[in-house]
């Protein structure tokens, strides 16, 4: 079969454009392949049909997976049927890919040794992206912590007439005495302040910890 020797066409289906580009960038290391990124849900099947990929990589959180699998099942009648990539010789690698959050489909007859490097790379990129996201969440958390500390300092400055560096020194000393984190002391001060003085003025009520809170959208 001719296409096995030529350029491999890889479709990356991911509704997260950021992650898709991280994966595309990773796959660019592989020679002899052409990469197509599909982030749109609408017309997905038709789009995949036009691309005529040898390999499809799709994230496990993608709601279109069942639709795509149906298309692949029906495409078995076509010249280049696509099936789920299941390399029975290496269950561990597949478990790692499910763990990383990526699943793969390949055109019938493509040899596992051509697919594995691509899947391994995708897994590494998915994991890297997850770490990036975790780091970002962590950074957001730290930012929120800093805000809490700043607010607590302002309360101390106002209520006890301290200078900023004195307010901070006070927070730190208390934290050390109680073997707690500075942010925990700051949050305790904010809570106490709210109990004593009511919620801060503003158009909407502030969340006590100011940590997170996503908008709840109606289903």
């Amino acid at each position: 079969m001719l296409w096995h020797a030529g350029l491999m066409r890889i479709a990356v289906v991911d509704e997260s454009a950021a992650r898709a580009s991280v994966i595309r960038e990773g796959l660019a290391e592989i020679e002899d392949c052409e990469i197509f990124v599909v982030t749109e849900r609408r017309g997905l099947v038709a789009h995949i049909g036009q691309i005529a990929p040898d390999i499809v990589l799709i994230d496990l959180g993608n709601p279109s997976r069942d639709v795509l699998e149906e298309y692949f099942a029906v495409s078995r009648a076509l010249a280049r049927p696509i099936a789920m990539f299941v390399d029975e010789s290496d269950e561990e690698a597949l478990a790692a890919s499910v763990e990383a959050g990526v699943s793969s489909y390949v055109v019938d007859g493509l040899a596992p040794h051509r697919i594995r490097p691509i899947l391994d790379l995708a897994v590494r990129r998915f994991n890297a992206f997850s770490r990036l996201e975790a780091d970002l969440a962590d950074a957001r958390g730290r930012l929120a912590e800093r805000e809490a500390v700043d607010k607590a300092k302002r309360i101390l400055m106002q209520s006890r007439g301290l200078a900023e560096h004195e307010a901070y020194a006070e927070l730190r000393a208390t934290a050390m005495r109680q073997s707690r984190r500075i942010v925990d002391i700051a949050e305790a001060i904010l809570t106490a302040d709210q109990l004593l003085n009511g919620p801060p003025p503003g158009p909407s009520a502030r969340r006590p910890t100011g940590r997170k809170g996503h908008d709840r959208t109606a289903p």
Partner: protein
């Protein structure tokens, strides 16, 4: 010591039993700690189950059989010790089409709606734009129930009517955009389409087969054998959850609980309607009560009847082609594990059927059946066209289907 079990699910009302077993402490009382893993496609629920990220999963019943038989991927044996429920799906059509094929005021009559739909389908064929209906998965009871109904009404699925797969959360969008003319899906997704004014519910699948198997609790066979005490404990916890689920006193609280973001992330009102067998058929109407729309507990509903697995197998053959193979039929039947269900509940107050297989669709009126323990009275379990499925005569059944 408490044993952790990870359980995969899709956000559908019939994922209720594992969620309630966890939330109300039924699992804990059995020494289990459940970790519920929410996904958005059956493909991913299955992947997580096959590659060990979950121990058991809420699954469309035919997919458990297809996976065991190696349809679409290399065979991996799954086991079903517990049926999570019967029926609970509906057929929703674009409102203009619904108004044409189904008189307003209640659910339609399956034969009458089917006959009217057949006329529309043939006209649409002639105009070159075939009628198109959506189901949630190739290997779903939705697909098989819809096809059963269409075929019995003189329509040839895939020829006279196109059948496409659509993810449940996008069913309403697809109706609105005119990508499909109707959908067969579970709750809350029919009601979401109705609330948005893009569809009208015309039939409940319970009208097609009064006691049709729907979602199951599936394990990898090897994992279930390794963790047999936990598998049996989970059956007991789920039975307790099922008993709680059908008690009207608990409907408000359970609807609110299932509606949470971590579970269905949907409207508690819509969920409450489904669990109380009520459906708002069209926007602005009044909810209609259709008894046993969902069927989660009575008549040993959770018992994995081998005959039900084999009925699904006959439908798989019917729509995918291939000759009847008695070895494969036996393998499909063995996916359902009444022996595990019995072992879990023997000596408890739960009624246990005496047989493991039955003739499906044969009961026209209530009938007390033989049991191993307790009393069971079965209510009518007919198919709307009056056909009867005898698992001892599968080739004849297949040959007699339209």
């Amino acid at each position: 010591m408490t044993q952790e079990l990870a359980i995969g699910f899709l956000p559908l009302v019939d994922a209720c039993l594992p969620i309630l077993a966890h939330e109300h402490g039924f699992a804990e009382a059995e020494g289990l700690s459940l970790r519920l893993v929410r996904d958005v496609s059956w493909a991913t629920v299955l992947d997580r189950l096959l590659y060990g990220q979950t121990d058991a999963a809420h699954l469309v019943a035919p997919l458990a059989i297809a996976t065991t038989l190696g349809r679409g991927r290399p065979a991996k044996p799954l086991s079903v010790p517990f049926v999570l429920g019967l029926n609970g799906n509906a057929i929703t059509l674009r409102s203009d089409l619904a108004a044409y094929v189904c008189p307003a005021g209640g659910l339609g009559d399956p034969a009458a709606v089917g006959a009217a739909l057949a006329q529309v389908a043939h006209r649409r064929m002639a105009s070159g734009r075939a009628l198109r209906l959506g189901v949630v998965h190739r290997y779903s009871s939705h697909n098989y129930m819809l096809r059963y109904w269409l075929a019995a009404c003189g329509l040839r699925p895939d020829q006279d009517v196109e059948i496409a797969t659509i993810a449940p959360p996008f069913c309403a969008d697809a109706l609105e955009a005119g990508e499909v003319d109707g959908i067969c899906v579970g709750e809350p997704w029919n009601s979401v389409a109705v609330e948005r004014g893009v569809g009208t519910i015309v039939l409940a699948t319970a009208q097609i087969w009064r006691r049709g198997v729907e979602k199951v609790l599936a394990w990898r066979e090897s994992v279930m054998e390794e963790r047999r005490p936990q598998a049996e404990a989970l059956v007991r916890a789920l039975v307790a959850a099922a008993r709680h689920f059908i008690d009207p006193a608990n409907w408000d609280a359970n609807a609110a609980l299932l509606a949470r973001r971590a579970y269905l992330d949907a409207s508690p009102e819509i969920i409450r309607r489904a669990i109380s067998d009520r459906l708002l058929l069209r926007q602005g109407g009044e909810p209609v009560h259709y008894p046993d729309f969902m069927f989660q507990y009575r008549e040993a509903a959770n018992f994995p009847w081998v005959s039900q697995a084999q009925w699904l197998y006959t439908q798989m053959l019917r729509w995918e082609g291939g000759a009847f193979d008695s070895v494969e039929a036996a393998r499909a039947g063995r996916v359902f594990r009444p022996d595990v269900y019995r072992a879990a509940l023997i000596g408890s107050g739960e009624p246990l059927p005496g047989a493991s297989s039955k003739v499906e669709g044969s009961l026209a009126g209530p009938m007390a059946v033989g049991t191993q323990q307790g009393l069971i009275t079965m209510e009518p379990n007919h198919f709307f066209d009056g056909r009867i499925f005898d698992p001892a005569a599968m080739p004849a059944y297949l040959a007699g289907l339209p």
